[in-house]
């Protein structure tokens, strides 16, 4: 089991959900200047292949629906990193009528990166911290989403009708 834990920590594939302005910090983090691939972090094209969901910036109610769909498609164990002040308390959108203020009311967040914008160094630092949390067995927020599913769904239902927005087959 230890080997699996180490491999989970050292091979973090992320899908970076480019909702807000934070996405502009991702290209320098991935490319030659800061090179996050040296820690085994690679951007992935689809949520099915990813381990980490990176929310880069503010989320409107409309994007939140898509984020929840993406999050529920990811195979477990899965981790969420909230990126920038907007995911913590709304940031400069603190009094906006359609931007959510606390991300962890709607999906479980393992780690926040503060700042507006966070520098690439702090993004890489967050991933290293997530690796340590995984190796110590502390990054278990995805279990929380399964155990307290109704609580998360209640919070989501306060914003929108959760039965209507899903695509019906």
């Amino acid at each position: 089991m230890g080997l699996f834990k180490i491999s989970q920590g050292r091979s973090l594939w992320m899908v970076h959900f480019c909702t807000g302005c934070g996405a502009v910090e991702m290209p320098p983090t991935m490319t030659s200047r800061f090179d996050m691939e040296r820690f085994g972090i690679a951007p992935m094209a689809t949520p099915r292949q990813a381990d980490v969901l990176l929310i880069t910036g503010y989320l409107t109610v409309k994007t939140l629906k898509r984020v929840i769909m993406v999050y529920e498609q990811m195979p477990t164990p899965r981790y969420v990193i909230g990126f920038g002040s907007c995911t913590v308390n709304g940031g400069i959108y603190w009094d906006s009528y359609n931007v959510i203020k606390n991300l962890d009311l709607y999906i479980p967040v393992d780690l926040y990166i503060f700042g507006c914008m966070p520098r690439p160094e702090s993004i890489i630092d967050a991933f290293i911290k997530l690796r340590k949390m995984i190796e110590e067995g502390k990054a278990n927020k995805w279990k929380d989403y399964i155990e307290r599913y109704d609580w998360y769904k209640q919070n989501q239902a306060k914003l929108f009708d959760i039965n209507k927005w899903r695509v019906q087959k």
Binding site: R38, Q49, P75, T76
Partner: protein, 295 residues
């Protein structure tokens, strides 16, 4: 006893294939002026993928697709001699078996990805099969003069008959060898020809709905596929006299493909097929003519 040898070869090739993939990422990173992941990164990725729990399946065939692909490439490996003195199964005509079994992988993926109903997967499959029209013809026509020259249709016999350095078939038929190298690039799916799994356009194509253990199996498929495909080229054109030469040769050919991959942008699919029906086709036709006129 033979079963044990088979299992030994299979494990060796899987480990070396994953090692090649890791080194390829390192080499690509150095070309980009980056530091790059550690060379054992591919092992960590596969281990992690097998430790994940898949949340959804899209049907029986969707789950069986990667298994078919993996079984197909493992079966191909059995007919591929790892240099002289390391044949697993060989008989007259095993070249055709190998050329047919190489198609089982993409076919298994096509069956599996087709059931996921994802439009990206369908586009990826269509591209993979169109691209096959390009490189399969070139690959077969490139190997043709060598097999006719030695009067055999067994890959192992070709290795034995062509012998060591100055007698390499690749030096006797340099145009065919060059054409085969270009066809091999498409077979490996490296960059001018990576339309089937273009991550930026169609979200990794057939793999779009595969995650977790399925993707782990597909990674192993890719790892064995690298050795089998480059091994076909090395066995036919450079007659490796022992297993060390075989792996050195496959490594050099694969690194050549990786370097080209790091430097090239991507063709559109019709450009790729048209490219194959241009210069490489002329090269391999000249190779066949060379057999008839000055062998």
């Amino acid at each position: 006893m033979k079963i044990l040898i088979l299992a030994g070869y299979w494990i060796l090739v899987t480990i070396l294939g994953l090692l090649y993939m890791g080194i390829a990422r390192k080499v690509t990173a150095r070309i980009h002026n980056r530091y790059g992941p550690p060379f054992y990164q591919a092992f960590l990725d596969v281990l992690k993928l097998f430790s994940k729990r898949e949340t959804a399946s899209h049907g029986v065939m969707h789950s069986l697709g990667p298994v078919i692909a993996f079984a197909g490439i493992s079966a191909t490996l059995l007919f591929m001699p790892l240099g002289k003195g390391a044949p697993v199964l060989h008989f007259q005509g095993d070249l055709f078996v190998v050329l047919y079994l190489l198609v089982v992988g993409p076919l298994g993926m096509a069956l599996g990805a087709g059931e996921s109903n994802n439009p990206n997967a369908t586009i990826g499959i269509a591209r993979a099969l169109s691209l096959m029209l390009g490189y399969e013809i070139i690959l077969f026509m490139a190997t043709l003069p060598v097999f006719v020259h030695y009067g055999t249709a067994s890959i192992y016999d070709v290795i034995v008959k062509q012998g060591a350095f100055p007698n390499w078939a690749g030096l006797k038929y340099p145009l065919s060898m060059l054409g085969g190298l270009i066809a091999l690039h498409g077979l490996l799916g490296e960059k001018p020809f990576d339309q089937p799994i273009a991550p930026h356009e169609i979200a990794s194509g057939p793999m779009v709905e595969y995650g977790g253990k399925y993707l782990g199996l597909l990674q192993l498929w890719h790892a064995i596929g690298i050795i089998v495909e480059t091994g076909l080229f090395i066995n036919v054109f450079f007659g490796p006299q022992n297993i060390v030469w075989f792996f050195a040769g496959t490594f050099i050919v694969f690194m050549l493909a990786v370097i080209v991959n790091a430097l090239m942008p991507r063709f559109r699919i019709e450009q790729a097929v048209r490219f194959y029906w241009g210069v490489p086709l002329i090269l391999v036709v000249l190779g066949i003519l060379q057999y008839y006129f000055w062998r």
